[in-house]
C-alpha cells in the first residue's frame, strides 16, 4: 500500500466525513474499516439494504447513503474488511485483510473507531440469547433478522428506537424493562431548556414512544434486581418493578444502558484519557479540532466522547480540515472559515446530550455488580474476585490482572474494563482517574502467524 497523507480508521459517520473532507482538500486518504461495506454500526450496510428496509429502519438510517456516496471519489482508498491490529509511530498501521497482513503509512492519523456498548453485567448476561441492543440493530440492518420473542432491558433512547423498529416490522418486543426512574427525569429537567435547542431530536423520541404505546408494548419503569435465567440459553428475564417481582419468558434479551467511546486504538498509542463523570466513562483528551496529545493523531466521533451520528460527522470534517492545514494543504484562513459553521452546527446538535445523559443514566446495579456476577465474559471473573483483589491491596486494573485474569481474554477488556475500574475505585475510595484503566497493547485484534507470513512484501516495500 502506498504512502498516504492521512489514515482514517473506521468508516462510520466520523470516518467517512473525515475521509471525504481530507480528499476534498487534495489529501491522499487510506480509509481502513473492519466491515465489508462502509457505514459503521449506525449506517451498517446502508447501501445494500436501504431500499429493502428503509421503511422499518427510518430516514435517520437511509441518510447514511449521503456519506457513503461521499467516499466514492478520487483520493480515497477505502480498504474494506481491514482489521487493524497495530499502530506504530510515523504512522504505520498494520492490519489483516483476507487472511494477509498489510500496512499503510501516513504522517497524520484520524481515529474514528466509534462506540462500544457500555457493559451491562447482570446475573445471566453471558447466556446465549442475551445480546447488546446494538447487536439486535445490526441483525436487523445487515441481515433483516428480528427476534420473535424479545425483552428489551436497560435505559436510553436506543431502547425506543429498536422497539419502534420491531413494531414497524410486525414483531413488537414482549416488553421494555426500563431502569431509569421518575427521579432521573426530574433531575434531567434542568437541562430541558438546553435540550430544546435540539428539539428535533426530542420530537423524534416522542414519535417513537408513541409507536411503542400504540402497539401496547408493556413498559416497566424503575426496574431493579434484573437477572436473566436459563440453563444453556436465556429463558426469562426477572426483575422488580412497582414493588413487585416479575418474570417474563422470552428467547432473546437485548441489553442496553448507553454507549461509551471505543478507546482501544487510542490507548494503544498512548493518547491521554480522562474520566467523564456525566457519561460515566473514559474519554480521550482532545482539543476543539479533535487533536490529541500525541502529535499528528486526531480522534473524531463517538470514539472521542458520545455525541451521536450527526455530531460525529461534523467532528470528522473538523479534524480533517485541521489535518489538511497542518500538512500545508489548506490555508489557515480557509480552515477557520470552513470550520466556523461546522462548530456552530456541532454545538446545536450536542445540546440535547446533557438532558439525555441525566434522564437515562446507566443501571446502577450494573456499574457495581453483586459479588457473584460475572464481569469479565472472556475469563469468567466475578465482581467479588475484583473486590477480593482490592482487599489484597490492588489499586489499579493492571494489577488486578495478576489476581484474576480479568481483561486478559481475547476481548482485551472491551466488555469489562470500565466495570473493573468502577469496582476498584469504589472499593479503594479513589476516583476512576486515580484508578486508571487497562494498559492496551498490540495486537488490538488477534493476528495469526499465517497472516503475518502472508504479508505481501511488495506492500511492505511500498510502505517503507
Amino acid at each position: 500500500m502506498n504512502q498516504h497523507d492521512v489514515i482514517v480508521v473506521g468508516a462510520g459517520p466520523a470516518g467517512m466525513a473525515a475521509a471525504a473532507t481530507a480528499a476534498g482538500a487534495g489529501l491522499r486518504v487510506a480509509l481502513l474499516d473492519e466491515q465489508p461495506r462502509a457505514g459503521g454500526q449506525i449506517y451498517r450496510d446502508v447501501d445494500r439494504v436501504a431500499d429493502r428496509r428503509g421503511a422499518i429502519l427510518g430516514a435517520d438510517f437511509t441518510e447514511g447513503r449521503r456519506l457513503t456516496a461521499g467516499i466514492r471519489r478520487d483520493g480515497i482508498d477505502h480498504v474494506d474488511g481491514a482489521v487493524v491490529w497495530a499502530i506504530e509511530d510515523g504512522f504505520r498501521v498494520s492490519f489483516t485483510r483476507d487472511g494477509c497482513a498489510a500496512q499503510a503509512t501516513a504522517p497524520k492519523l484520524i481515529l474514528a473507531t466509534g462506540a462500544l456498548e457500555r457493559p451491562m453485567p447482570v446475573p445471566g448476561w453471558t447466556l446465549p440469547g442475551v445480546m447488546m441492543a446494538g447487536a439486535g440493530q445490526i441483525l436487523l440492518k445487515q441481515s433483516g433478522m428480528l427476534a420473535r420473542r424479545a425483552v428489551i432491558v436497560g435505559s436510553g433512547p436506543l431502547l425506543y428506537l429498536i422497539a419502534a423498529q420491531m413494531v414497524r416490522a410486525g414483531t413488537p418486543p414482549l416488553a421494555l424493562v426500563e431502569t431509569q426512574t421518575r427521579g432521573d427525569l426530574v433531575r434531567a429537567g434542568r437541562h430541558l431548556a438546553g435540550a430544546l435547542r435540539g428539539a428535533g431530536y426530542l420530537a423524534k423520541g416522542l414519535k417513537m414512544l408513541g409507536e411503542i404505546v400504540r402497539a401496547r408494548v408493556p413498559r416497566h419503569a424503575g426496574a431493579t434486581d434484573i437477572a436473566i435465567v436459563g440453563d444453556d440459553r436465556a429463558k426469562a428475564v426477572t426483575f422488580r418493578s412497582g414493588g413487585r417481582s416479575r418474570s417474563i419468558d422470552c428467547d432473546t434479551v437485548f441489553l442496553h444502558h448507553g454507549v461509551v467511546p471505543n478507546t482501544q486504538a487510542a490507548r494503544s498509542i498512548g493518547v491521554a484519557h480522562r474520566w467523564d463523570a456525566d457519561q460515566h466513562c473514559f474519554v480521550p483528551i482532545v482539543d476543539a479540532w479533535g487533536a490529541t496529545d500525541v502529535d499528528g493523531v486526531f480522534i473524531a466521533g463517538d470514539s472521542a466522547g458520545i455525541g451521536g451520528a450527526e455530531v460525529a460527522e461534523i467532528a470528522g470534517r473538523i479534524a480533517a480540515l485541521k489535518a489538511a492545514a497542518d500538512l500545508g494543504r489548506l490555508a489557515q484562513a480557509d480552515r477557520d472559515r470552513q470550520a466556523a459553521p461546522l462548530r456552530r452546527q456541532r454545538d446545536r446538535q450536542s445540546a440535547v446530550r446533557p438532558f439525555l445523559d441525566a434522564a437515562y443514566p446507566p443501571y446502577a446495579a450494573a456499574l457495581s455488580p453483586a459479588d457473584t456476577t460475572c464481569i469479565c465474559r472472556c475469563e469468567e471473573v466475578t465482581a467479588g474476585d475484583i473486590r477480593t483483589a482490592a482487599g489484597l491491596g490492588c489499586i489499579g486494573p493492571n494489577q488486578a490482572k495478576a489476581f484474576g485474569r480479568a481483561g486478559m481474554g481475547p476481548c482485551q477488556g472491551r466488555y469489562c474494563g470500565l466495570t473493573v475500574t468502577a469496582i476498584l475505585a469504589e472499593a479503594n475510595g479513589r476516583t476512576p482517574d486515580e484508578t486508571g484503566y487497562f494498559r492496551i497493547r498490540p495486537p488490538l485484534k488477534p493476528v495469526t502467524l499465517g497472516e503475518l507470513a502472508a504479508m505481501d512484501d511488495g506492500d511492505r516495500d511500498a510502505a517503507e
Partner: protein, 100 residues
C-alpha cells in the same frame, strides 16, 4: 438440521450454500453474515468457554466481544466478522471446565 429459530427473517430469497457445523450440514444464505445466519438457523450455542465450559453465543455482532468464536480450519475466528461461503467446515470450540 434446521431447528426452530427464535428469529424472523425478512430476506429469504438469497441463494443457499451448505456449511458444516460440528459435522452436521446446514443450508445458509451465501454471503450472509455467518453469525447471523447460524442464529437464524437455530444455533444458539457457538462455543463453550475455556475456563468453565459455559455456553456462549453472539453478543455484540461487531467484532468486539469474541463470544461468537468458532473454529474454521483449526483457527478460532469471529463468526460475526465472516460471511457464509459454500463448504465452510465449522467446529464449536469445546470448553475446558476448569483446566486453568
Amino acid at each position: 438440521m434446521k431447528t426452530a429459530s427464535p428469529f424472523l427473517e425478512l430476506d429469504t430469497a438469497a441463494p443457499q450454500g451448505t456449511v458444516w457445523f460440528d459435522g452436521a450440514p446446514l443450508d445458509l444464505p451465501l454471503g450472509a453474515n455467518l453469525a447471523a445466519a447460524l442464529l437464524a438457523a437455530g444455533v444458539a450455542v457457538f462455543r463453550h468457554t475455556p475456563a468453565t465450559g459455559a455456553p456462549r453465543g453472539p453478543f455484540c455482532m461487531m467484532g468486539a466481544c469474541f463470544d461468537c468464536l468458532v473454529e474454521i480450519d483449526g483457527v478460532a475466528r469471529q463468526a460475526c466478522m465472516l460471511e457464509v461461503a459454500d463448504g465452510l467446515r465449522i467446529t464449536r470450540p469445546r470448553g475446558g471446565g476448569g483446566q486453568r
